[in-house]
């Protein structure tokens, strides 16, 4: 089974972050494959955010690669997750 590890960079009070959270929740249920979502609060884990070059939230890294800054379209996010799930290692 293919797996995806999603780092959902957020911060308290961020307007777009709950939208992304909901989107990821929906896609985790919709897509087949194991999707792990970790919420990373950039006000707490500043080092991780800096490592990826996250400068604003929401931002999403998929399997260690930063893919989105800002709220993505659901289709774009779905495509990014599916690419990883279908990837041949």
């Amino acid at each position: 089974m293919q797996e995806v590890y999603v780092e959902d960079f957020m911060s308290p009070g961020c307007v777009g972050c709950p939208v992304v959270k909901e989107m990821l929740k929906g896609l985790s249920e919709e897509l087949s494959g194991e999707i792990t979502v970790e919420e990373v609060d950039i006000t707490v884990d500043t080092t991780r955010a800096a490592q990826y070059g996250v400068m604003s939230v929401p931002a999403i890294a998929v399997n260690g690669v930063l893919k989105f800054m800002g709220v993505p379209k659901k289709e774009e996010l779905k495509k990014a997750l599916m690419e990883e799930l279908e990837r041949d290692e």
Binding site: Y5, T46, Q51, V65
Partner: protein, 593 residues
């Protein structure tokens, strides 16, 4: 050291640090090792007394080599502290920094940590975090990086003493510095202080060499009356938009002669330099030593701007510098790094209604007192009560107004004790030696170099100290004197005092616009609204945004020596990055901007 090969793909090593007893004393290390050994793709597990020690790092490097590890997880302390240590350790033996991760399990085990939990919960939490991190590292790919050129220039926001120091340091090192100041003059709050502790030096006298040099330094582009309105980009290459308000005076032509000010018919209350206790004209130069010494028109009060007629200043100006048609300017800058030195504001004590500030005119703040004591201030150094212009025979200073207060700000503002002592000394020694001065305090905090001696001296010259905070101040309607009751806990006595003047030692709060600027820069603020550093002890001037540094009171309340130290530190951090000429950044970050 133990090995366990189970379905090796990425070859992950998990290293659990005991941190002496800091971790080992609060969690079952063998249980964590057993747990980690069973995780997918983990091929090596070990614990170590101190992973960050030279010996600990050798253990990691040997394991990488001997067990073909491709990814390494160290379960130890805050990544803000040691991630770089372990990334460098891995890099030495050929592991990409993206494949080295440090996770903090110590926060659950160490005595004194606010997150400390019991041993069972520490084990559960640590297991969960290790499991999650193994999964993340297993799936993680190398972060694509690109090399970008670094622009050898810096934006400094704020022209107070910290901003000036950082600007001069960097300009002297050869960088181009753009110094942006919101007000028409640089110098910040220090210019309002009259004297500074613990030397009782004249504040403008020791500030002037810095403001004057800033004004003429060939590497400094001074932008007063200006605010940053947009910031994009990343370290090495920030694009900044600055909006400059018009002065309605041509800076190149104005000689600062003051003729326009003399002839201007409109007098208004000066809320900036005189803190509401003096007057200025509608066209004004903030104060004599202002830099740049150029006039500025206050459009809210100028007759021409309000009623369409007057223009006396234009007629009288010998160099035709007045220009009512000046427009706001938009200036675009490219800089490699940004230093935030936006300082602080004095807490508005009207919020503490019990002290009557704003209702009783003889209740003033320490900043207002500084203006009254200043020989160049609104009263030319005569200490006079605002209500009737009489010299006060008795004064009470109330400490911690808005500080160390659950209903206002919980933090200590750190400078109020010292400036109260300073003003008490000035009053007793220079202005009104026979006046009774009381300082009503919770604790006197004098921790800087030479500060305790300064405190002792203040006691020796006859200033009275009351160990307690008054609950309420009431005004005598006829005399305008102020009555307060305060319990002195040192002598267990309830004191009732009637005094001529009350001075409030107000908290230091984040300066106006801090929140907006933080949003523009994407820099985090702390729980009190000041700019937040990466680590309060070890990385005090760096922020969550690489290339953006903080210094002075923008980071938290502090005195001038500490502001200078931080300014130099921020300049040094910027220099360390900029001098490289080029820099490696995550590809996505560069693409986005």
């Amino acid at each position: 050291m133990e090995q366990n090969k189970n379905g090796k793909k990425t070859g992950i090593g998990v290293f659990i640090c005991q941190c002496g007893k800091n971790i080992a004393g609060g969690v079952d290390i063998p249980a964590l090792l057993d747990f980690s050994r069973g995780l997918e793709e983990v091929v090596f597990v070990a614990d170590n007394k101190f992973s960050c020690s030279e010996e600990g790092q050798i253990v990691i490097q040997n394991a990488i080599r001997d067990s073909d590890l491709e990814r390494v997880i160290i379960a130890a302390c805050d990544p803000g502290l040691h991630l770089m240590t372990f990334q460098r350790c891995g890099q030495k033996i050929g592991i990409d920094p993206a494949f080295v991760d440090l996770i903090d399990i110590r926060k659950w085990t160490m005595f004194g940590s606010p997150d400390k939990v019991d041993e069972k919960h520490a084990l559960d939490n640590a297991k969960r975090l290790i499991e999650q991190t193994v999964k993340r590292m297993r799936l993680r790919r190398k972060i694509p990086k690109v090399t970008v050129e670094v622009n050898p220039s810096v934006l400094v926001i704020g022209g107070g003493v910290a901003g000036l120091e950082a600007s001069l340091d960097l300009a002297d090192k050869g960088y181009k510095v753009h110094l942006v100041e919101r007000l028409p003059t640089i110098g910040g709050k220090m210019a309002l202080l009259y004297k500074v502790f613990p030397t009782n030096d004249c504040a403008p006298c020791i500030l002037a060499p810095k403001t004057a040099y800033t004004n003429i330094h060939p590497n400094i582009n001074l932008l007063t009356n200006s605010e940053v309105t947009k910031v994009e980009g990343h370290i090495g290459n920030f694009s900044v938009v600055v909006s400059q308000k018009p002065r309605y005076v041509d800076e190149k032509k104005c000689t600062g002669c003051g003729l326009c000010i003399e002839k201007c018919p409109t007098k208004v209350v000066d809320n900036e330099y005189s803190r509401g206790l003096g007057e200025r004209k509608a066209i004004y130069i903030p104060y004599d030593q202002a830099i740049p010494k150029k006039a500025v028109i206050d459009t809210q009060n100028c007759l021409y701007f309000q009623k369409g007629s007057c223009k006396i200043c234009e007629k009288i100006c010998p160099t035709s510098a007045i220009n009512f048609k000046q427009e706001p300017k938009t200036i675009e800058l490219k800089v490699g790094a940004i230093i935030v030195a936006t300082g602080f504001d004095e807490y508005n004590p009207t919020q503490k209604t019990e002290y009557g500030y704003g209702r009783y005119s003889n209740v003033i703040t320490q900043f207002q007192l500084a203006r009254l004591l200043d020989i160049d201030g609104p009263t030319k150094g005569r200490l006079l009560r605002p209500a009737d212009g009489k010299e006060p025979r008795s004064i009470v200073m109330i400490q911690c107004v808005g500080s160390r207060d659950e209903n206002a700000n919980r933090y200590c503002s750190s400078v109020c004790c010292m400036y109260a002592l300073k003003h008490a000394q000035i009053i007793k020694e220079m202005v009104l030696p026979d006046t009774q001065v009381y300082i009503s305090y919770i604790d006197i905090r004098t921790t800087g170099k030479g500060f305790e001696e300064y405190y002792k001296r203040t006691r020796e010259i006859g200033v009275n100290f009351i160990h307690g905070r008054p609950a309420e101040v009431v005004e005598n309607n006829e005399t305008k004197n102020l009555i307060l009751k305060v319990e002195d806990s040192d002598i267990n006595e309830l004191l009732k005092l009637e005094v001529d003047l009350i001075i409030l030692s107000c908290a230091t709060v984040p300066s106006k616009g801090t929140k907006h600027l933080a949003e523009l820069l994407r820099v985090n603020l702390d729980e009190n609204g000041f700019f937040k550093e990466v680590h309060p002890k070890l990385r005090p001037v760096e922020t969550n945004v690489r290339g953006v540094y903080i210094c002075g009171s923008a980071q938290g309340p502090k005195d001038i020596p500490d502001s200078i130290v931080q300014a130099k530190a921020a300049a040094s951090c910027a220099d360390s990055e900029l001098r490289k000429g080029e820099i490696q950044l995550p590809e996505f970050m560069v693409k986005q901007t």
